[in-house]
Symmetry: C2
Amino acid sequence: VAGTARASSGADRQLLSDLEDALGRRRVLTDPEVCAGYTRDWTGRYVGSAAAVVRPERVEQVQAVVEVAARHGAALICQGGNTGLVGGSVPRPAGALDQPQIVCGMSGMCAVEDVDPAGRLLCAGAGVTLSAAQAAAGRAGFHLGIDLSSRGSATLGGMAATNAGGMQMLRFGGMRARVAGIEAVLADGSIVSRLSGLAKDNVGWDPAALFVGSEGTLAVITRVMVRLEPLPAHRVTALVALASVDAALELLAGPVAALPSLEAAELTLEDGMRLVAGEFDLPPPVGLESGAAGRGGRAWLTLEAAGPYDPTAELAAAVDHPFVLGAAVASDANGRARLWAYRERHTEAVSRLGVPHKLDVSVTRSRLGELVGLLPERVAAAAPGARLVMWGHAADGNVHVNVVGPPPDDDGVDDAVLRLVAELGGSISAEHGVGVARRRWLRLVRSEGDLQLMARVKAALDPGGMLNPGVLEPLP
Amino acid sequence: VAGTARASSGADRQLLSDLEDALGRRRVLTDPEVCAGYTRDWTGRYVGSAAAVVRPERVEQVQAVVEVAARHGAALICQGGNTGLVGGSVPRPAGALDQPQIVCGMSGMCAVEDVDPAGRLLCAGAGVTLSAAQAAAGRAGFHLGIDLSSRGSATLGGMAATNAGGMQMLRFGGMRARVAGIEAVLADGSIVSRLSGLAKDNVGWDPAALFVGSEGTLAVITRVMVRLEPLPAHRVTALVALASVDAALELLAGPVAALPSLEAAELTLEDGMRLVAGEFDLPPPVGLESGAAGRGGRAWLTLEAAGPYDPTAELAAAVDHPFVLGAAVASDANGRARLWAYRERHTEAVSRLGVPHKLDVSVTRSRLGELVGLLPERVAAAAPGARLVMWGHAADGNVHVNVVGPPPDDDGVDDAVLRLVAELGGSISAEHGVGVARRRWLRLVRSEGDLQLMARVKAALDPGGMLNPGVLEPLP
């Protein structure tokens, strides 16, 4: 049965038995229902087949898994919180590979090992969830400078492997910037460890920087050290209405961009705002009926600033601009939540329309207006009658493109959107990674030289092709 | 003659001739005096021998140099501004390698190609100096978020290859954080290019992150794209006197650390402050005779904050603390320069005492007090009677250790300092890199697994050992 771990052959039974010998029986999962949770992604779109699911608790056990996998020529698919959207952390379908597949669930490596307030560092097992790390940091007066809505499941190891981004990226950077160190097991069983927590350490290039974003293809990340930021005493949110996306981007490029306290700058559009307000019976957002709408309709920025002093005055001054149709500001938790709801409930509102095609693309900030302007006609051409809803992390040029209408397995509209993005010099995957879902479009945005470099490093570190085979490899 | 390019053999003459055919004669330097500037580092401690010095102006010419070097089995040593301190950008001494050496001076790739205010990006040839890039950014209302005293010579390519740090690293990060993209030529002549300037682009791991800090051993960096920051309207400097290093670090870990506008936090000590004030007839710094000095004498923090609003009040509030013996604050250029002089003139003051042994080490911020406390006794034991002067980038745990007394070729005191740093889990090279100078101590701070990873990636990308051979390799 695809989607469950089963000993389908004598070779697979030997593999299971060797894993049990190496790890102890309780760390080798065999219950089909439990295993199904590891072989299917949370959206249900990616279902694979594994000869075994293991759950190591210490780095030596990860080494043992790697050793057994190498001996059996098996593939090793690492899995953190299984919150990915591109099928990169579940096994490939039965028959897709000529290797047996082992899913290595990292949730057993779940200790927050150290919080260092002076060094502003947190060190934890790769299986620690973002929310557990946030709680440990919070008790010491810090936060991680990164937040995702999947915080309860997403793990630090998975976030590092996929270079997770999120809402606060504008101020604090993505995981590549947040990771201060890493411990990892390579395909030959050797351990690479860079957990000194030094702010400056120019003794060779940085393995952590190489492994971040490698999607489990170069190493098994076993420990992660992340940087911490002091919890701000003050936090203020502003919802600012503008006549058009161009006006929003102009405001963002001006005084708003210069605020050191700015943590978020989220863009929403008139169509999405009307949808959200209607679906959830919210009062119309500020500015919805004010002034004249420009090309493409009105746009909103959800801005958030935070710091050790109250940033309300500087945020208010920065948005005091003739383009602004209206602005609402809140610094209390309830008021802030009310303003954020317009942005945050977009996902849910779109899901009520049907099963959306979800694309996560980016362009440079200077081309964001162009992308948002061109998308409606390209989507209409590829999928006549489809409903397009967009929102995004404006400061990062990142747009979440949602298209409701075409059947799930018709990727014509995906292709049209990704080709437009490539024309504009953008990325076919801003945050979500490549996994198996975006392999078809890899060559749109990566040259032969780029792909060869990735392939050569992959071959040097994993000559047997053990680690997450297929992921990050272009389709022929 | 060591230190000059000369056609010492028929093979070398053929190499020169092939380079001239590939690049044109004027890009192959032959004048011995000109070449000597490329084969000797600026301190005069590292002098090597090159069969040729070339100066390409376009990436195709770099490819041609790589092709000729591969054909002749030659070593290729890339050189930016030749401001390094570890002998990594000049050729090895005559006879040290069994390959002829080519110095590839990058100063011909000197065009600032693009400044994108909306995307906050600058793209330039690898040979563009930091000051030229700063000037171009400044004309558009931006700065690079990185500054070094060698700005007039140091190049963006060299800064990327060595992951340069500097004074503003606390707020804006080092070159690994500043680099938004890179173009590079690999040893096989292929080009890797990641110059899209996207804030988010999760399509595979980031080659730029791999090449930063690789010291010319993995690729020839030909173009660099760096992030820009808006020029602040206000800038304020505070010189704050404290009873001890521990008090300074406690102040820094508290409210000061939480200031989003903080750009620099430099540490100086009583011995160095007395030396600087005496050598240059400066008025005694604030607090020099106030209160009681703690263990190891008084300490000063030079703090700088900048932003779109005036940060004076928040900086003053953050340093209003019982540990503070006194503070001087200035926001005008002259006043700020007067306060900075105490920190900046340390280098010159030490040079007046003799030729110093210079070590650039780091520990985590939580161990900085311990390092500064232990160094005097370790230095005294290794070099009795020597004079130790230290200062550093306090927020990064980075200490510049200067020892005057032991002869230049006696590295006993270097060894003692680096062993102490390794005991404390620190780095033997915080900013300056490994080059050839720190190879002897590589194994102190890198495990066999770490070194093997570096060696394997090196072998995959440069199987012939063309690029900067010896650099970053541990001595047996």
